[in-house]
Symmetry: C2
DNA sequence: ATCACCTGTAACCATTGTAGTTACAATTGT
DNA sequence: ACAATTGTAACTACAATGGTTACAGGTGAT
């Protein structure tokens, strides 16, 4: 299965918070841009908040970036909204037969390969910062 | 969510087919090594067969590699058992609001980044061949 | 020809993650 | 007090997954 759209939504939210930094950015406003339910937005913002990427104003309403866009990279965002812990992008089959040469060693062999592939992906995400996303977004609009 | 354990199972099967190339390798035998149900094995072998990686002997029983282990890389295996089409590792949120600068352009921006990250992962898989897996497996057993 | 064995596949089930929705307590400015 | 908003719980519908049973069809041995 593919990686949850929460990741895409999170990036959307963060980009919007930067571009519309004058505005109030309530969950309802953001939901209008993402085209989903405000609760979905609040859930994602909750995760981003726990990760220290955004601040919210309960009662008042609205959210804002907790850091400069260039100090937020996509790997941080990915980790913030990802349920699975790092190192588990690829699922292993459990309890292969220890009486079999393959069953006895496959886990460790796969673990090495899988971690390498996962890291390669994450490194690409780490290279991209929010300000690059915003730049690309604005540029693409012309 | 993580990538289906079908991938791990598929690699397990292929490694076993190579190491136990003298044996008959029925789905039941393989299931014993993987520790799952024979039908699950047959399903995965079916996918590997369609991808041209293995041959089976209906009636007779057993499966075997259709190519030399060094001519099978993990990206091929990955594609063989993966349900999602290439380029969709990361899910996009659908129908963002075209009236919003962000909503109007986020899809394309994300697509570029997501594809880059996905390719980085796949490139790592493509580097690893089945004979390397088998070598590592056997080496780890000592 | 019969028989035992195996594959391929359909059908069904339980479990899990996801995303949308309603509802509401708690918070805050007016 | 009041209106607006966040944070969260609860519920729903849906899809993918992995396990299971069942069975039609192929194949070699006797």
């Amino acid at each position: 299965m593919s990686i949850s759209s929460r990741f895409a939504v999170a990036i959307h939210i963060l980009a919007l918070l930067d571009i519309n930094k004058e505005g109030r950015n309530t969950s309802e406003f953001i939901a209008g841009s993402v085209n989903t339910n405000p609760v979905v937005i609040r859930r994602v913002i909750g995760l981003l908040g726990k990760a220290g990427l955004v601040h919210t104003s309960p009662g008042v309403g609205g959210a804002s970036l907790a850091r400069l866009p260039r100090e937020i990279n996509l790997l941080e965002v990915y980790r913030a909204v990802q349920n699975d812990p790092p190192g588990e992008l690829f699922a292993a089959h459990d309890k292969p037969n220890p009486k079999c040469l393959v069953g006895r060693n496959i886990q460790e062999t796969l673990d090495t390969v899988f971690k390498r592939a996962e890291s390669a992906m994450e490194n690409e995400l780490a290279k991209v910062t929010l300000d690059q996303i915003v730049f690309d977004l604005v540029r693409g609009d012309q």
